[in-house]
């Protein structure tokens, strides 16, 4: 028998865990009681109807197949395809995230370069950073008066901090030797910032961006449950109200998969800017 490589063995183990997990789940769901002879009283009290319960994985697969084979249908406000719902969520996350990056990275650069700016802004950052992004929601709704924009604002406010702090930290930590190389080559401030400090700090900055996108994706689900209308968070809550647990489980899986893909995109960006000293 050929010896399997590390990756092959890991893959094999993953498949085994998946299959065993699904089998346990499937087996743990009590079978619906067969509807036998019912008294008239039982029929009147709904004894013949199926009991609501956690659906088995087989049902979730069927649901997933159904939804994914037609992800972009739109049959009114309460019945949109999973692709449309996820699209709305990604749009909100990326909009809020991009605005946060546009502010956090230049500001982080400034804080990292200037000890005065660092000391002056640090107390504000330390107070604002631990606030749960959803706590901003009432204020955002009142000031912005638009639920869609408020959701984007919540994403903005939650993803700004890791990027800001990591950028400042990365820029402040650039080795003096490299800055001296720039100085002895008479590079101007902008040239130094772009050709020496930015590449030197890039791994730290991208790590902050990766943390931020993870947090943004966590927060969007909760934010959309509050603001409603569209999005994957709204979809989960709506299906809960419909007591459609199959759809709830399916959408939970989709949230995980999209989150994984966002993280993978930033992981590859991280590899692209990494360097070995």
């Amino acid at each position: 028998m050929p010896i399997l490589s590390l990756n092959q063995r890991a893959l094999l183990l993953s498949v085994v865990i998946l299959v065993v997990g699904l089998l346990i789940w499937e087996a743990a769901i009590p079978a619906q009681q067969a509807v036998g002879e019912l008294t008239e009283y039982e029929r009147l009290t709904g004894g013949g109807a199926a009991k609501a319960g956690v659906p088995p994985p087989s049902q979730v697969f069927v649901k997933a197949w159904e939804e994914l084979s037609n992800p972009f249908y739109d049959a009114g406000p309460n019945d949109k395809g999973i692709g449309i719902q996820i699209g709305y969520s990604i749009y909100r996350v990326l909009t809020g995230y991009a605005m946060a990056a546009l502010i956090a990275i230049p500001l982080g650069f400034l804080i990292g370069m200037s000890p005065v700016a660092y000391k002056a802004l640090n107390p504000f950052i330390q107070v604002l950073r631990p606030i749960s992004p959803l706590a901003w929601m009432p204020l955002a709704l009142f000031i912005i008066q638009d639920s869609e924009a408020s959701a984007i604002f919540v994403i903005f406010i939650c993803s700004i901090w890791p990027m800001l702090i990591n950028t400042a930290f990365g820029v402040a930590g650039v080795r003096q030797d490299w800055v001296n190389v720039a100085r002895t080559h008479e590079l101007g401030h902008f040239k130094t910032a772009f050709t020496v400090i930015l590449p030197a700090a890039a791994p730290t900055i991208v790590t902050g961006m990766r943390i931020s996108i993870g947090i943004a994706w966590l927060v969007i689900v909760a934010a959309e449950m509050l603001v409603g209308g569209t999005g994957i968070g709204y979809y989960v809550w709506n299906e809960w109200n419909n007591l459609d647990l199959t759809s709830v489980i399916f959408s939970i899986l989709m949230i995980g998969i999209v989150g994984m893909m966002l993280d993978a995109a930033f992981a590859s960006l991280q590899r692209a800017v990494a360097y070995v000293e």
Binding site: D177, W178, N180, V181, R183, T184, H185, E186, L187, T195, V196, P199, A200, A202, V273, Y275, V276, E277
Partner: protein, 300 residues
Amino acid sequence: MSKPFLSIENLTQQYPDGQGGMMTVFENATFGVEKGEFVCILGHSGCGKSTIMNILAGLAEPTSGVVTMDGREVSGPSLDRGVVFQNYSLLPWLSTLKNVSFGVVARHPDWSKAKVLDHSRQYLAMVGLEGDVIHRKPSQLSGGMRQRVSIARAFANHPKLLLLDEPFGALDALTRGTIQDKLLKIWGDSGQTVFMITHDIDEAILLADRILLMTNGPFARVAESVDITIPRPRNRTAIVEHPNYYAIRNHLVQFLGKRSKDLAGQASDGAAQRPETVRIDLTGTAEDPTPEPRLRAVNT
């Protein structure tokens, strides 16, 4: 009297000593370096060699004193003064070639890309780096190769003055030897003015026209300027046979081992501290094994 090409006048460096007073590293140091000269500076750790180097590079400001080069005062870093740092200071995210062309672009912003790369390749070839190696990142190179890249980067810019801060300190003896030979060859071809810090007496004798000796700090000073009276081209195996070699070497060892301590800690009373020129030449008087070094005042 005309000033030397590089003139250091009354250079003083003080730091707060942490108890409200000032600690004087060196005071009123005054010396010169002529165009095309290769000067090494020798001294114990803490005597302020690196501080002098940083001031010459424009990376640090002296407490007082003036440095002029080519008739102009040195203030701030400049492309006219190339620096080879002890820890190479290559940018780790750029390839070897890009590390050199980085400097060439800074020097010649008007050059075409092809010309810049061509020029960079040429200087890398001079230090013996050719082929695939030049596309590798610094982390994939050995310490000796990295230092050669750093030297190529400095020479490719044709600075008026090249500052070498213990460039071979982190290398093993064999690698150091080959790079010293490369450095001598490039220096011979380019006629550049070089100012170099080193801890290695043999290295200094092999490379330098003149060796400046520093006493220990605080109140360190450049006490002597020793002419290396061994003709060029020099070769590490041949120079040890030269009659002057051991006389000079003994003088340097004596200074670093004993006199650098004896002469330490003297405040200057405000007078410029010029090094005494020491010239040891036994050619013709080789039968006298221990001559008194002939001392004479420096002529600046």
